[in-house]
Symmetry: C2
Subunit: 227 residues, 2 copies
């Protein structure tokens, strides 16, 4: 399903260049739930952004369902992302001055879903994360953990083929974190959605079917987690 070969990522150039990924090989099979772990600054978000087709590698190749992602132009990449990928950002990335409901509807709007269906699906997703009563609040009128949950609802509302979650529970209390992990685990088991989740919390990684550990821009080890 997903094949990464020799992925290198350099930020900046010349004097200011920073080598964030030093040649990553990674395979992800359809239906897996991978936990990507590692110290702060080890390259997890950089990897997630490349897998989510939000950023290109400096070198290497990325096959997504047989498609050579780095050979696509900007429009084709946006289309691939829009139709098949859901992304939960580490910094939430909600639109300011936009309500929680409108934020969750956005990816469905891009897919051309009619308004009535879009609104229904968005409300279902907000309800799953416990925020239906807050649908009219804008990002500035939500707590940190509530913004994170809106970002989660936005990514799952469209049932993407491949869901990337970058630290989805960093701002949540334990009870809410377990609720989110159960939602992701059910999406993976019941709907077969392939998931890559970045996390630094071992308790959350337990919900995954495999762990990959990064250190300083390289794969440190891969653990098959026996379920």
């Amino acid at each position: 399903f997903i094949k990464l070969r020799n992925i290198v990522k350099v930020y900046g150039s010349g004097q200011n260049s920073f080598l964030a990924l030093k040649g990553i090989d990674l395979d992800i099979n359809a239906g897996e739930f991978v936990a990507l772990m590692g110290p702060s600054g080890s390259g997890k978000s950089t990897m997630a952004n490349i897998l989510g087709c939000l950023d290109k590698a400096t070198k290497g190749s990325y096959l997504f369902n047989g498609v050579d992602v780095f050979s696509l132009n900007r429009n084709e990449t946006a289309l691939l992302r829009r139709n098949y990928i859901g992304f939960i950002f580490q910094g939430f990335n909600l639109l300011a001055r936009t309500t929680a409901l409108e934020n969750v509807e956005l990816p469905l709007l891009y897919r051309g879903m009619p308004k009535k269906e879009r609104r229904k699906k968005a409300r279902e997703a907000l309800d799953m994360v416990g925020l239906l009563e807050w649908e009219k609040h804008t990002s500035a009128q939500l707590s940190g953990g509530q913004q994170q949950r809106v970002a989660i609802a936005r990514a799952i509302a469209s049932n993407p083929l491949f869901l990337l979650a970058d630290e989805p529970t960093g701002n949540l209390d334990t009870k809410r974190s377990v609720e989110i992990m159960e939602i992701l685990s059910n999406l993976n088991k019941d709907l077969g959605i392939t998931i890559l989740m970045v996390t630094h919390e071992p308790d959350m990684a337990k919900y995954a079917t495999r762990e990959v550990h990064f250190r300083d821009g390289e794969v440190n080890k891969v653990e098959a987690v026996i379920k």
Copy 2:
């Protein structure tokens, strides 16, 4: 040192009003390290913003070192905050397109510290959080956990009398989180800095001398933590 009586906070007005704090009484003695815990949306950041003189309550009184905070005008409040309070934001709140070093220097600049001393203090704080090599990176060139650590360095560089930390370890791996907790614990024990830390991680709350638990805008329980 700090006395809160009957603190009520309502966001918005009329139809759109939201009662976030329902009458909080809280005393904090000089030199305490209080952990403020509770579910997502229970009012912790709202409380921290009022204690940090970043926001005013709708009702109630706040005595800071004998000063009636809500009777101060904007300038006097800004002066109190600038000279006595350090704040680590849940969303980091770093200045974009500004280097890590400049971000940490900012509170020292506001206090009128001369450039040479300011630069030295800022570098010491960045070194404490492990980011001296990243001093020229701007916020966009830093990982989530690195931005969080710059926000921590910025708040501690000026050795404030009262330090507020809103979820300071949400984006950090366990090793970095423990390092930050040891820095805060040492600031509290060695320099007598009073700390209020919002956290949802029980392992981090263990470093505090007292726990206060919120639920739905009210104090749920106060636990004296025996050290």
